[in-house]
Amino acid sequence: MHELRGTRLLIVEDEPMLLLDLQDITSEFGCEIVGTAAHLSRALDLARSADFDVAILDVNLNGDRIRPVADAIADRGRPIVFLTGYAGDFEGRPNHGIIIEKPCDPDDIARALQHAIGSMT
């Protein structure tokens, strides 16, 4: 298992309450949150420019599918953890990345982050 302490995170989540919770949970893991986004345009900017080790992406961002953001992150070779309220697979999922379904607990998130980082090293 990979140590999450010091891992730099990009979090894209449009539900404020979930975003706060994800920030708190990952902070407790020792992660450093380098950026958060609730909208596609800001998410795309951060995906292309922010310095992060792994991204947590809400699959459905205010009705905008996350695919372009995921592609931008994949282009940079960074791992992704997808958060989805949909059952099973979803439209536009890239062939990498780990999916966790909402609602999820901190252990799910920790495991997913560790797998995502492990998959890229």
Binding site: D14, E15, P16, M17, L18, L19, L20, D21, D24, I25, T36, A38, H39, D58, N60, L61, N62, G63, G85, Y86, A87, E101, K102, P103, C104, D105
Partner: protein, 530 residues
């Protein structure tokens, strides 16, 4: 021929059979041939029957008048042909119930036998209607029943004389011959009518079911389409199916179509062809449900499927309804999971700040209730959006203290906000209200909160809404922590709404201003919300 049509003489004393003349019958041959040709090429029945009466009128002795009556399904006499009778006469007879007690033809129609009336004036069966023929100088009549192959009476061939007499042997042979041709013509017309009725029935049923029929020839790979099927497929009557299928069936559906064909023509199989596929329809696609049966030819090991014949049905509307239904089911599931995730986060966030179980329970329940009230409001509006005034009023209602109506003032224009914005703002207002009750204006007897909103478009193209929370009468208090839950939630909420939040704390109390774009169309697609 009507060999068993026996002679019936209605009045004694007259010998109806005078003489026979075979040469006369031989002269009939060209006319007989012509009438049969008319029947074969499907000439209209009145035209054929008129021609047949003409033969008799030309060839019978003296100035006779010939008329054909048809017997309908209700046993009524109908004018078949009576070209030498006035319209009044034909109209008077048309529709009479065939009866054994009436006239000549009527009796022949009921009995199926030849009936001869040498003196109409003296015949009691003519008593009620004798003026009709007598007025035209027609004083005698005889009638030859026209019989179908199965012996059923189709009608009668009537001949009227201008002198009191019965038919000659020649006339009997003449009319018997012509009546036989009439029988062929009438049966042909009946069969045409029946086919037409069935065709129309089938056509209406096919139209009602939005179906079109086709036949696929397996060896040639050719498919032929009826007019209805041509409309469904947007194709001509005959198509090289195997060569052109890629141009009209949706590429994703072609494999299942071929699989259905393979299953249908498999030896020993059911022979049934059943598949659903999309065909090109203008710029889009039309869903068809397609059923067919395999036709085979040959015996034993040589037996082969030669064609599939069937019909296709337009099911585009059903498919669209199914798709909508699935979208709603998926959306509902998504919404439930998202809501559970939000509730889970509320629990976690509440527990971080209020670890005491009793306090936790109160705070957690209050936040979930705020969310639940917003859900109720949205459900009443079918999740199309919520009036901001209703939302604010609902969210703030727990903080209105008993017997003090002036503590909270809400005011603003009629604005409908999206479901997402409604859920988010309900939690924001709940946090602001909770904070005001614990630390701010609502803790004090003369404290007051005003929640107001207004459009503040400025240069922006999209309408921007400004929501202000202003507390008054706090005097001195400690400002809340910037890192506190309320502050973070309000900023995260503003970001979700694509806007900004400003919070300042003065001696009067907290001021919070949120600005965010607010689509004004009022109709928000349920499926697009998160």
């Amino acid at each position: 021929m009507n060999k068993d049509a026996r002679l019936q003489v209605t009045e004694a004393g007259h010998d109806p059979v005078v003489d026979a003349d075979d040469t006369g019958l031989a002269m009939l041959l060209p006319a007989q041939k012509q009438s049969l040709e008319m029947v074969v090429r499907g000439a209209p029945l009145p035209e054929v029957l008129k021609f047949l009466t003409g033969i008799v009128e030309r060839h019978a002795g003296g100035q006779v008048v010939a008329a054909i009556l048809l017997l309908d399904e209700d046993g009524r006499l109908r004018t078949g042909a009576g070209p030498s009778l006035p319209d009044d006469y034909n109209r008077a007879i048309d529709g009479l119930k065939a009866s054994i007690d009436l006239g000549t033809c009527s009796v022949a129609a009921v009995t199926g036998q030849v009936v001869i009336t040498p003196d109409i004036a003296a015949d009691p069966k003519w008593a009620t209607i004798k003026e009709l023929p007598l007025g035209l100088g027609l004083v005698a009549a005889w009638s030859q029943p026209i019989l179908a192959r199965d012996g059923r009476v189709l009608g009668t061939f009537g001949t009227y004389f201008r002198v009191r007499r019965g038919p000659t042997t020649f006339e009997r042979q003449l009319v018997e011959t012509v009546a036989h041709t009439a029988a062929l013509a009438i049966e042909r017309a009946e069969s045409d009518r029946s086919m037409e009725r069935q065709r129309r029935l089938l056509g209406m049923a096919m139209d009602a079911a939005r179906m079109g029929e086709w036949q696929y020839n397996i060896a040639g790979g050719i498919c032929e389409y009826s007019a209805r099927a041509q409309a469904l497929y947007s194709l001509p009557a005959r198509v090289d199916h195997d060569a052109e299928v890629n141009s009209f069936i949706h590429p994703d559906d072609i494999p299942s179509m071929w699989e259905a064909v393979r299953a249908a023509i498999e030896p020993g199989g059911s022979g049934r062809y059943e598949v659903e596929y999309r065909v090109r329809c203008g710029d889009g696609w039309r869903w068809l449900s397609v059923c067919g049966l395999t036709e085979s030819a040959g015996e034993g090991p040589e037996r082969r499927a030669v064609a599939i014949t069937g019909a296709s049905r337009d099911i585009t509307e059903r498919k669209e309804a199914e798709r909508q239904h699935q979208l709603l089911v998926d959306e509902l599931s998504h919404r439930v999971k998202n809501t559970l995730a939000v509730v889970q986060s509320i629990a976690a966030q509440t527990l971080r700040r209020t670890p005491d179980p009793r306090e936790f329970h109160g705070a957690f329940t209050a936040r979930v209730s705020a969310l639940a009230r917003a859900h109720s409001l949205l459900t009443r509006a079918l999740w199309k959006g919520a009036p901001l005034a209703d939302l604010v009023d609902t969210a703030i209602s727990p903080f209105r203290s008993d017997g003090r109506d002036d503590g909270v003032i809400c005011d603003g224009p009629d604005v409908v906000i999206t479901p997402n914005a409604a859920l988010t703002l309900s939690l924001v207002i709940h946090e602001l209200g909770t904070n005001a009750l614990k630390h701010g204006a609502l803790r004090l007897p003369d404290g007051c909160v005003s929640v107001t909103w207004a459009g503040c478009n400025g240069a922006a193209a999209a309408p921007v809404l400004e929501l202000r929370w202003v507390e008054q009468g706090v005097r001195s208090a400690t400002p809340p922590k910037q890192s506190g839950f309320g502050f973070r939630l309000i900023h995260a909420s503003a970001e979700q709404l694509g806007g900004t939040a400003e919070m300042e704390f003065s001696d009067e109390g907290l001021r919070c201003v949120m600005r965010f774009p607010c689509p004004q169309d009022g109709a928000h697609d349920v499926v697009r919300s998160t």
